[in-house]
Subunit: 218 residues, 2 copies
DNA sequence: TAGATTGTTAATCGATTAACAATC
DNA sequence: TAGATTGTTAATCGATTAACAATC
């Protein structure tokens, strides 16, 4: 892999989409594709595809295009989808349960190793082979099993109360569904925020201003 | 309100966050705030705040700053949070149920008027006062109740099969959790995509490349 | 009035697109 | 070889930041 020069957030955000489209092509037994063909499929410019891919290496061949299987595998490796990074979920409420049941963590690069909740009615329940644990045991669990990533499905205040503990105990990545702002006070951790409420309000703006240009938000 | 000039996707995406912070300030009985103070609170530049707000009007006062309550109300109105736009949810699986139970639609500008599912085991169940309906009744429902927005919590193929019907029956906005690409074939509709799987894979990239700069994605 | 802070224009920065020489 | 398509550099476009005159 080429030394990762110039990899902007925009590029990183587009990588999973490339990976997804290539997976679809692979399932259809497409063996090669040019940036132009892919650009028509994905509705982006061929230039952007070539620029994006070249942040990571020269995966194509002049006059030929890209080998779908190879490129898919390379992007998977860049995304780390085979790393099985140990991950936990904080909060087994509606959202937590939805993630547990609808997200294929192993296909995204993670192994789900623990689920934590403070509600006694939920503690002890079983989901996809994991027993929901008391969130009071979180620190001890981290010291034993060293999860690296946490999906935050608890309210802002509870997230705030646990943030320092998590970082101190080796959590380096947050998939954050709360409105707590992690990287404000935590250096060196990676955060992907998913603000569902904000995203719905953005849609409210868009349908409220139907006439205006903006038609799509990712 | 000033004529909406130059409102980019970036600005629209930031609006709900401004609204959220102002709501918090309001709860703390803060009556006025300068762009500088707000910028420190939100970790953005004061310049950007002033630029963003000025897309919609001059809500501040030289030498004083912004009236929190007024600005909060104005942003709410711009976002359309009081519009009560009729909305439906397609799919009452794990994710659909999570949205029903954890998102406050009325506070985001919507009134939830229908929930649809194809699984017979779920049809007829009750959530927050709504009975889950057979998705086969969707078209008829639309013609009677005219929902304007749909949250898509069904698989790509099912979304694809229903897309034309929905658009033909007046749905103009999609909160899309599937990997079906709406605006490819549908003109004039507004789409906010939420690709949870992609977002988790982006986090995988980030923790796989810990050393590199990027630390936060929204 | 003097001090503060906006609204807005100008400068900078970064991301996207276009172009093309390299090369399979 | 000729045609196609990449990798990469240069040009354009848009978004962010800085600066400052207007003004409360």
């Amino acid at each position: 892999m080429k030394s990762d020069k110039n990899v902007s957030n925009s590029v990183i955000n587009r990588l999973p989409r490339y990976y997804r489209f290539l997976g679809t092509l692979l399932n259809k037994d497409v063996t090669r594709i040019s940036s132009k063909e892919l650009s028509q499929l994905m509705h982006v410019t061929a230039s952007q595809i070539r620029q994006d891919l070249n942040c990571f290496g020269g995966f194509g061949q002049q006059g030929y295009g890209y080998n779908v299987e190879l490129l898919h595998r390379e992007l998977g490796s860049i995304l780390g989808v085979n790393n099985m990074t140990p991950a936990i979920i904080l909060g087994a409420g509606n959202l937590g349960k939805a993630l547990i049941n609808s997200i294929e963590f192993p296909r995204c690069g993670f192994q789900l190793v623990g689920i934590f909740e403070k509600n006694p009615a939920v503690i002890g329940q079983n989901y996809i082979g994991l027993t929901v644990q008391d969130i009071a045991n979180l620190e001890k669990f981290c010291q034993t099993y060293h999860p690296k990533v946490a999906a935050i499905c608890i309210p802002k205040d509870e997230a705030a109360a646990l943030a320092d503990t998590m970082v101190a105990n080796g959590i380096v990545g947050f998939w954050n569904f709360s409105s707590y702002d992690f990287n404000f006070h935590h250096e060196g951790v990676k955060v992907v925020n998913v603000h569902l409420r904000d995203s719905l309000m953005t849609l409210s703006y868009m349908v409220t201003h139907m006439d205006e240009g903006n038609s799509k938000i990712d």
